[in-house]
């Protein structure tokens, strides 16, 4: 394991954890949205580190670009100055309980992952299914496209149906005023 990858991983891990905590800790929703964009960009860097170039680019274009812009529009439209109800929160004890349960959850998950997870050599894809072989022969994006249109054509087509239904839903909610 080379030292550069390790350092990059830990820097990215600390940065993305800090910005993710920012999402749930900021009082103002605009700050939360900006912090969320930062988290998504750091995650895209994780994807680059894992040789998933197309996913990293799509992450920045669609998530950090399109989805978060939509979020920011709605946040600014719905009067961000009234903010969260943090000051007059009627159930302050919820925070302590949620944080304790969260620490238990992350502890249990980390323990299980650390103690039980190994990938044996047999489970790895080989030959024409091997991502790295196809990627070195034809390039990353080609490898992605080949996998998408060979094994996942039907889910890919069903996605279009999902998007049409989402558009119709948004139209109906928007018209009803």
């Amino acid at each position: 394991m080379d030292i550069g990858t390790t350092i990059t991983f830990f820097v990215l891990a600390i940065a993305s954890t800090a910005s993710a905590i920012g999402v749930i800790a900021f009082k103002n929703a605009v700050n939360s949205a900006l912090s969320m964009i930062l988290t998504l960009v750091f995650l895209a860097m994780f994807y680059l580190q894992l040789n998933a170039m197309f996913i990293a680019i799509v992450q920045i274009l669609i998530y950090a670009g399109a989805i978060m812009v939509l979020f920011l529009f709605v946040v600014t439209m719905l009067a961000p100055d009234q903010g969260d109800v943090g000051n007059r929160d009627p159930m302050v004890w919820q925070r302590g309980v949620a944080t304790t349960l969260g620490i238990i959850l992350v502890g249990a998950l980390s323990y299980l992952i650390y103690t039980t997870f190994t990938i044996s050599q047999q489970t790895k894809a080989t030959g024409a299914n091997s991502l790295s072989q196809v990627a070195t022969k034809q390039g990353d994006i080609q490898a992605f496209g080949q996998a998408l249109f060979h094994g996942f054509v039907f889910p890919f087509e069903v996605t279009s149906l999902l998007i049409v239904i989402a558009i119709l839903g948004a139209l109906i909610f928007g018209r009803r005023a």
Binding site: M1, A13, T17, A20, V23, I24, A29, S32, A33, M36, L40, L43, F46, Y47, L50, N51, A52, F54, I55, Q59, I62, Y63, I67, F71, V74, M77, L78, G83, D84, V85, D89, R95, A98, T99, G102, L105, V106, L109, S110, I113, F117, I119, K124, A125, N129, S130, L131, A143, A147, L148, F152, P155, L162, I163, I165, A166, I167, G169, A170, G174
Partner: protein
């Protein structure tokens, strides 16, 4: 880095998202926390795809991304229409289904 490092990173992000959903009262921030959880799962999919040397994980990420986009569109439309009728978006106040 080994696979477990990425999976633990994903677990940390998922937990932060869960705490956000439990603690916050602003539905927009709850939505962002849900996005955070989806992204944590995406990270573990991409990590598995890399370490199993198979493209299947990236396909799942692609589909999760589409679902997330559709969910945000419909969810934000619902929040906006609630705001139109009630002028208030505190989730504790939204305890009736009637408009």
């Amino acid at each position: 880095m080994p696979l477990s490092a990425y999976l633990i990173m994903s677990a940390i992000l998922f937990t932060i998202g869960t705490i956000g959903v439990l603690v916050r009262r602003n539905p927009l921030i709850i939505f962002m926390s849900i996005e955070l959880m989806l992204n944590a799962v995406n990270l573990s999919f991409v990590a598995f795809s890399h370490f199993l040397d198979s493209a299947d994980g990236q396909m799942f990420v692609f589909i999760v991304l589409t679902v997330a986009a559709a969910e945000v569109v419909v969810g934000l439309a619902i929040i906006v229409s609630i705001f139109r009728t009630r002028r208030n978006i505190d989730v504790d106040e939204m305890n009736v289904l009637r408009g």
